[in-house]
């Protein structure tokens, strides 16, 4: 059947099999390979995108269900060459290693911050419960989301955009044991 979906601001009209999953439509037909597939049971969240502004796992949505609706993927976040504050915070806080879960994690984090602009650690952890990461142990993801919240808060001035490379060193003070 024919569907029209707006993805990252572009309208696409395609003939799809009714059983086609949204994530496969995005990846295989539209070339939106920034969104990835990590499992087939809806557990990992790697395929998370926004459908009309809310996060969905695109492996659990049929392409036909997106007909006439607007999809935003991780590829549609940066504006005029500037990263979204959540993308920037993930980079600044080393919230990714292999990066496979990252597109879904970022999309879910944005959705979380829309609901709760100033989440505490616990709220971030629960908000990201449906997105698995095997590399980071989540600690820097939590840091990144809270950092992004700070950057996105009303009245946040240029100072919050500043990255201090020393911050991480100070956060984990180095104690030199020495071998001699």
């Amino acid at each position: 059947m024919r569907i029209t979906v707006t993805v990252d601001g572009v309208d696409y009209s395609d003939e799809v099999e009714p059983r086609t999953l949204l994530v496969h439509h995005l990846r295989e037909r539209l070339g939106k390979t920034g969104t990835v597939v990590g499992c087939d049971t809806g557990n990992c969240g790697a395929c998370t995108v926004h459908l009309d502004g809310h996060s969905v796992k695109s492996c659990a949505v049929l392409a036909v269900q997106a007909n006439g609706r607007e999809v935003t993927t991780v590829e549609g976040l940066a504006r005029d060459g500037l990263l979204h504050p959540v993308q920037q915070a993930f980079h600044d806080n080393h919230a990714l290693q292999c990066g496979f879960c990252t597109p879904g994690m970022i999309m879910q984090a944005i959705d979380l911050l829309a609901d709760d602009p100033d989440p505490d650690e616990d709220a971030v952890r629960h908000g990201l419960e449906g997105n698995l990461c095997r590399c980071t142990g989540y600690q820097n993801v939590v840091r990144a989301v809270r950092d992004a919240a700070r950057r996105m808060s009303p009245g946040a001035g240029p100072d919050v955009e500043r990255v201090d490379e020393r911050a991480v060193v100070e956060r984990a003070p180095l104690h030199t044991g020495g071998g001699e």
């Binding site: 099999e17 059983r19 939106k32 390979t33 920034g34 969104t35 990835v36 597939v37 990590g38 499992c39 087939d40 049971t41 557990n43 990992c44 790697a46 993927t73 991780v74 976040l77 940066a78 990263l83 993930f90 980079h91 080393h94 990714l96 290693q97 292999c98 990066g99 496979f100 879960c101 990252t102 597109p103 971030v124 629960h126 990201l128 419960e129 449906g130 997105n131 698995l132 990461c133 095997r134 590399c135 980071t136 142990g137 989540y138 600690q139 820097n140 993801v141 939590v142 990255v163 490379e165 991480v168 060193v169 984990a172 003070p173 180095l174 104690h175 030199t176 044991g177 020495g178 071998g179």
Partner: protein, 807 residues
């Protein structure tokens, strides 16, 4: 050329890799679309052990979009046997390991037929139309039963389920005394059996392979940790000339040892693409990944520790059964052997014997998983040190202090024959104790015990070391490993002063593009941004031993240093010529050569151009400054650290909550503290996952019942605590960077810290062990004193240790 303002090494540089990963501009293997590309799907055996009596593909071939359906007999003549590169003993038994089963299946999930179709959907549709008849064979699942006389056999041709037995004895090796005598005369002897449950690496990116066959050659993209090893092995197994094969590991979404393999699917995709003359893609589903990508751990460890009454350990005996699964994969047999050198850990034990029997079962093959042999060893020794402490009634920290190697004892040759170059266990432990608030937590523990609080507090200790920086090639050879452990780097000095660094390591999340750039920037005095790191393509990086075993920085990073030094040595000669002075008078600082005692200077960039255009070079000097180097370490490196875990155990429900987790690791010098901290976080998370959540469970028929992420509990953000991390820094002596490796440290250290904390919380209630993963049900059962829970096949709830479980 701009000099760097401050040293790059040691700086918390944000990663270069992130730019593509946070914007979705990634290059995963499954992203690749080639004109005319076909899709392969694999039909897998639903049974663990059976004879294939017939495979009917007639209906499948007629399905829409299907180009071909292939079975084992179609490929039997060309598939060869998957390689095992680590025959640990001369008489090791290794059955042929087909990529696709021909007449017999030996584990549930083994490939039985292939569909090649126009789309992945069509290929999967056709799988359902293939009709396979199986004649059941007896299923072998339990290792102890498998090695009894008269046991059913996985491979009847071998006549036994034992693949090999490997022994190290300190008296025979001359590294220590006789362990039997030590045990016989021990004033205290503690014996325990621990089970290392089977785990699944569960990297986030499912494996994917694309093969593009062009004329007589082929290009393979694969989600692999080991493109170089893969090319070599594919060529050896299939007889394809190596120079006609190019292997590319593009962006790879995690590995943890799970992608250190030559997989059946890589072989099959290659064979099919060559047969059809078209590009072919195979991408696994998560369930396929759980079923067929190799598993990890799965050992039964019988540990005997003898000591004097004052706590001085006099001997350690280790008897292992290690489950190989149905076949030997790339390094399967060697994984438990890597642990052989680590059971004695940080301690000065005088006598030691290690015996390991590798056993076949009808399960998915096991192989390397983060730590590979060393987490198992560390778990056993750190658990039993706690048991000894309990037996003696001393603080487990004090028992460790009594036995560990003191910092002034380095270099120290251990009872297993390794020489540790450096370390400072006292410093790391003191810092951990301070950050943890050890004494206050002990006081709270006493209070909760006295009050009979339903939630009890436990403190777990893990003081670990590990051997990494794999590895000195000579040592690997002595251990009968088929490959070397060196690493290669090449530096290309481009005429505009930019630098391309080619590395033989193959990162898949570790941040080599960033860290290697920092090393080059420091060494050559060029800006960090001017360095491009190239890797993971055998056509670009032709020599390499890839990434695993916490080796990349200690070995590959050192190769980078050596290559840079060669560039500088030649540049110095050219600069001396151009500045008309002796090379001995040339100094090099921050990217600029100068003549000692004069104001004459020349930037490296100018020397690069001069060497490139070659208008005026000294006689006999070739144009260009490019250089390459291969580093083969003389020894392993030995990171160490102290991890402390406080758990709250709800004695009414068995629920465990990690209240605080402190780790102080000594990984030597650090190139990028941001990346190191991230590695520790992720490593600790995986070790905690083994302690609390993860287990590959098979039912009595050998079917994996945890084949989705709904059943196999990879922890989410709510399942893990906040980690307090810190470092001490004792430089390694075995490489010029002084680095030791950090990839596996957290995983090696954390599992025993957590389990020790759980047992410590409820030891006063009669519990001396809880089998992993320490689920609420297992903890609760241990608290009910139920020792007599019969372990089901593959282990379910309850302990297999008659002396453990609930004490």
């Amino acid at each position: 050329m701009t000099a760097t303002a401050e040293p790059e090494v040691g700086r918390a540089r944000r990663r270069k890799e992130d730019a593509r990963l946070i914007t979705g501009a990634t290059r995963w293997t499954d992203n690749i679309q080639l004109a005319g590309m076909l899709h392969m799907a694999v039909l897998r055996s639903p049974v663990a052990h059976a004879r294939i009596t017939s495979v009917d593909v007639t209906a499948a071939v007629r399905m829409p979009g299907v180009l071909d359906v292939l079975t084992g007999s179609d490929l039997a003549d060309e598939q060869g046997s998957l390689p095992c590169a680590w025959p640990i003993t001369e008489d090791m038994l290794a059955p042929p390991a087909p990529s696709i089963a021909v007449d017999e299946v030996n584990f549930a999930g083994e490939a039985v037929a292939l569909v090649i179709a126009r789309t992945a959907y069509e290929a999967h549709d056709a799988l359902a139309a293939i009709d396979v008849d199986y004649e059941d064979l007896p299923v072998v699942l339990d290792m102890a039963a498998a090695i009894e006389d008269g046991a059913d056999l996985v491979h009847p041709d071998l006549g036994t389920n034992k693949s090999a037995t490997w022994v190290f004895d300190s008296a025979e090796a001359g590294t220590g005394t006789d362990v039997d005598r030590a045990v016989a005369s021990g004033e205290v002897v503690v014996e325990r059996t621990f089970r290392q449950q089977r785990l699944i690496p569960a990297f986030m990116e499912p494996r994917s392979v694309v093969v593009d066959p062009t004329s007589d050659s082929a290009t393979m993209w694969s989600s692999t940790q080991v493109p170089h090893v893969l090319r070599w092995m594919l060529s050896a197994v299939l007889g394809i000339p190596e120079h006609k094969l190019r292997v590319i590991a593009p962006d790879v979404g995690g590995g943890f040892g799970g992608k250190l393999q030559v997989t059946p699917e890589e072989v099959l995709t290659l064979l099919v693409a060559r047969r059809l003359g078209k590009p072919v893609k195979w991408t696994e589903s998560r369930t396929e990944s759980m079923l067929c990508a190799h598993h990890g751990r799965d050992q039964v460890q019988r540990i005997t520790l003898a000591a004097r009454a004052d706590g001085t350990v006099t001997g350690l005996k280790v008897d292992l059964l290690a489950d190989m699964g149905a076949y030997l994969r790339l390094v399967s047999p060697g994984v438990p052997i890597l642990g052989a050198f680590m059971f004695n850990a940080i301690y000065k034990f005088p006598a030691y014997r290690f015996t390991c029997t590798n056993v076949f079962t009808n399960k998915t093959p096991t192989d390397a998983y983060r730590g590979a042999g060393r987490p198992e060893a560390t778990f056993a020794i750190e658990r039993i040190m706690d048991e000894l402490a309990a037996e003696l009634g001393v603080d487990p920290l004090k028992l460790r202090q009594r036995n560990w190697i003191r910092h002034e004892d380095f270099p120290f040759t251990t009872v297993s024959g390794l020489t540790y170059d450096s370390g400072n266990y006292e410093a790391a432990t003191a810092r951990a104790v301070e950050l943890f608030g050890y004494d206050a937590l002990r006081a709270e523990q006493d209070e909760r015990r006295a009050n009979g609080d339903p939630v009890q507090l436990g403190i777990g200790i893990s003081t670990y070391t590990e051997m990494c920086g794999l590895a000195p090639s000579r040592v690997l050879g002595a251990l009968r490993y088929a490959a070397g452990g060196w690493e290669h780097a090449a530096i290309r000095m481009l005429p505009t002063g930019k630098v391309e660094l080619v590395t033989g390591t193959s990162p898949h999340g570790q941040g080599h593009e960033t860290a290697w750039s920092q090393i080059v920037a420091d060494r050559l005095g060029v800006p960090f941004e001017d360095v491009e790191v190239l890797h993971g393509d055998t056509q670009v990086s032709h020599r390499g031993m890839d990434s695993y075993g916490s080796r990349s920085l200690a070995v590959g990073g050192t190769a980078v240093v050596l290559a840079a030094d060669k560039v500088l040595a030649k540049a110095r000669t050219v600069a001396a010529h151009l500045m008309e002075c002796s090379a001995d008078d040339v100094e090099f600082t921050s990217g600029t050569f100068s003549v000692r005692g004069t104001s004459t200077t020349m930037a490296l960039g100018d020397v690069v151009v001069a060497a490139h255009v070659a208008h005026d070079l000294p006689d006999g000097v070739e144009p260009g400054l490019d250089a390459e180097a291969t580093f083969d370490p003389t020894d392993f490196s030995y990171p160490h650290g102290t991890h402390l875990c406080a758990t709250e155990v709800d004695t009414q429900t068995g629920r465990v909550r990690i209240r605080s987790y402190v780790c102080v690791d000594d990984v030597g010098k650090v190139v990028n503290p941001l990346i190191v901290e991230g590695q520790v976080h992720g490593g600790v998370a995986q070790g905690i996952a083994q302690a609390l959540y993860e287990e590959a469970v098979h039912d009595e028929g050998g079917t994996l019942t945890t084949a989705t992420l709904a059943d196999y509990l990879v922890p989410s953000a709510v399942d893990l605590p906040w980690f307090t991390t810190d470092r001490t820094e004792t430089p390694a002596e075995s490489n010029p960077l002084g680095v030791k490796g950090v990839g596996e440290a957290g995983t090696i250290a954390s599992t025993p810290a957590v389990v020790n904390a759980i047992v410590d919380a409820v030891r006063h209630m009669g519990v001396t062990d809880v089998e992993m993963p320490c689920t609420p049900m297992r903890v609760w059962k241990a608290l009910q004193g139920r020792t007599a829970v019969t372990p089901a096949t593959g282990g379910v709830h309850g302990s297999i240790d008659a002396r453990g479980g609930a004490g």
